[in-house]
Amino acid sequence: MSNIAFNRLQRECKEVVTNSEISETGIMIEILNENLTEIKGHIRGPPDTPYAGGMFDLDIKIPDQYPFSPPNVKFSTKIWHPNVSSQTGVICLDILKDQWAASLTLRTVLLSIQALMCTPEPKDPQDAVVAKQYMEKPAVFKATAEYWTTKFAKGAVKNAGYQALVDKLKDMGVREEEAVSVLSCNNWDINRSTVYIFS
């Protein structure tokens, strides 16, 4: 890693850590190794969204050409969102691709991701299944995203109905994560989900 990148990352980390942002904006970073190539990001689910109350973790990898190339950022906490892959956590966000500018920082990246959580862009989806549900069945989308937040990001909203369906599949020997994923993709239709899994 070049000197520019190292100096800058040190400053950036300080910027986020010392600003006590976690209390104000709900973002935080955690350094994983000494040469600053791998960083953990945390975003608190924004209020008035299905992600409220959850704490989402992100894996941040810093490329050699940083800050002239964008950092590689993806969710490590599973999240139900049109612009994030429900399987891999890959994020579709312009500033992480062609709209990256060297003057952007980890702080602005995390804030942009937080903004994306508030206002999804289903027209430019990363996960087509989620985007379709978001547009066609907004109520189901909201409930599903909330369920995922509780399940994977320590959220507080309980959904006994969904949990019962998941338990039903679990009783049939399906792993919990797969059960949640398949039910979510099939709009919580237990029959279609079982057909999908066992055919």
Partner: protein, 482 residues
């Protein structure tokens, strides 16, 4: 090299190069001997330019724009490049809404650039570069947008963009600022790094040439020549330096009478594996139970699927168990066959046969052309022998040489009639085309026969063959290309 040496229009002393490469020859050659006067030339009107001469073309473009609208020269280049060097269009759009147009072309042409503070800069000390997060810089270069960054960061930014192949579209480093860095600025940043400078200049030239509708790089290997032509038809150009000849529009091998789009489609079809799919379709069937793809390797029609262990009949797809005694039902033709799936196989097989028909002929002519290269050498030797035996002079035997040149030229055109025919839909026009193609085919083969056996006794007959072949070729090109 002297620049002037390279500038040479297609008409100048052209036949001299023709001997080196058969399809480079200008039409004039054949027209001299064969009494067909082509009404159109297959040769594009063009010049070969050196890098320095091309720079002149760019400067002329910039000057003509600057004389029309009031704009700084460094912006003129960006404008011209973004608008295919169309001075009239630029002048019109500038008059329409100058600021909006310039902004769309990534130019910030405010009269006096003010230093803007970059987003995170406001609270920090003077001389601070927000990219490397260091302060105390005495100089912070900036574009006309006014976003300041240190020279070292600018340089790293330029290097990073160059490694992605971006040269003329290097943006300001500020987020959401889309102003492009003019070449003058970039060069001042990288002035002390000759390697980067060389790379930048090479990429910049590439971008400029590609944006210019009349310029095209010679496709020859490592050839620095740039072809300038205003030709609209996909005619042929030949580089004066490396003698490569290609289509002036698309840069592929010259392909009359086929159009650029069609030849591209044809080449993609030949190159990619779309035919693999056709093969699979034509030579395999799906297991009626589990639908896995099965290729029959042996002669037996009793198939057992290796995946689901289902036994079935290759011909009627029926279960083999019920087959047993009444096997020969399969051979009887049924008016309304229950095996509807068969139709798809037949269709795919037809498509494959059609493609192979045209492809085999295209390939065959390509091979013949290679072999006739050897024929050319043989004829050359034959001429030498005759001259050494004092049997006529070198000039006397040149018609033999010309006959091979004409043969290759006709065969070359003939080869490229096949992609054309493949993509032609079945209309009366196709009938006419195929008729003319057949005529040309016949003449070319007769000429080939005559040339291979030419012993210098039947000049008249040979020239008659040449005349007819060239005539057919010209007719076909005239009806379907010009």
């Amino acid at each position: 090299m002297d620049d002037e040496d390279m500038s040479c229009t297609s008409g100048d002393d052209y036949a001299g190069y023709g001997d080196e490469d058969y399809y480079n020859e200008a039409d004039v050659d054949a027209a001299d001997d064969v009494a067909v006067t082509p009404t159109h030339s297959e040769e594009a009107d063009y010049e070969c330019l050196s890098v320095n001469q091309v720079e002149r073309v760019f400067i002329d473009g910039v000057n003509s724009l600057v004389s029309r609208i009031s704009i700084n020269e460094k912006f003129a280049r960006i404008l011209l490049q973004a608008n295919h060097w169309d001075v009239d269009k630029i002048a019109r759009l500038v008059r329409n809404d100058r600021n909006d147009f310039l902004r769309k072309c990534h130019i910030d042409a405010k009269p006096e650039p003010k230093r803007k503070l970059s987003s995170t800069q406001s609270v920090l000390a003077k001389g601070y570069c927000s990219v490397c997060a260091m302060d105390g810089y005495t100089e912070l270069p900036h574009l006309t947008c006014g976003h300041c960054f240190c020279e070292h960061c600018w340089k790293s930014h330029v290097e990073s963009r160059l490694s992605e192949g971006v040269a003329s579209r290097i943006e300001c480093m500020e987020s959401e600022c889309e102003v492009y860095a003019p070449s003058e600025f970039v060069l001042s940043i990288i002035k002390n790094s000759p390697v980067i400078k060389l790379k930048y200049e090479r990429f910049l030239l590439r971008d400029m040439v590609n944006s210019h509708p009349h310029l095209k790089f010679c496709v020859g290997n490592e050839c620095p020549v740039i072809i300038r032509s205003t030709e609209v038809k996909p005619k042929r150009v030949t580089c004066m330096q490396c003698h490569t000849s290609f289509c002036v529009k698309c840069g592929a091998d010259y392909h009359a009478p086929t159009s650029c789009e069609t030849i591209k489609q044809w080449m993609t079809k030949c190159a990619d594996d779309s035919e693999t799919a056709n093969y699979i379709s034509a030579h395999t069937k799906d297991c009626p139970q589990c639908h896995s793809c099965i290729e029959k390797a042996g002669g037996c029609n009793h198939i057992q699927c290796t995946r689901c262990r289902h036994h079935f009949c290759w011909m009627c797809f029926g279960d083999w168990k019920s087959h047993g005694s009444e096997y020969y039902e399969c051979s009887r033709y049924k008016e309304n066959p229950s095996v509807a799936a068969e139709a798809n196989h037949v269709k795919a097989r037809r498509a494959l046969e059609k493609y192979l028909h045209y492809f085999e002929r295209f390939e065959n002519h390509s091979k013949s052309l290679k072999m006739e290269e050897e024929l050319r050498d043989k004829i050359r030797k034959k001429i030498d022998d005759k001259v050494n035996e004092h049997n006529g002079t070198w000039i006397d035997w040149q018609y033999l040489h010309k006959s091979v040149s004409l043969l290759t030229k006709c065969r070359y055109t003939l080869q490229y009639t096949y992609p054309f025919a493949y993509f032609l839909s079945a209309t009366p026009r196709k009938n006419l085309f195929e008729y003319q193609q057949a005529q040309l085919e016949k003449e070319v083969e007769e000429l080939a026969w005559a040339v291979e056996r030419a012993d210098g006794t039947a000049r008249g007959a040979l020239e008659a063959h040449m005349h007819r072949a060239e005539h057919k070729r010209q007719t076909l090109l005239h009806d379907f290309f010009f």
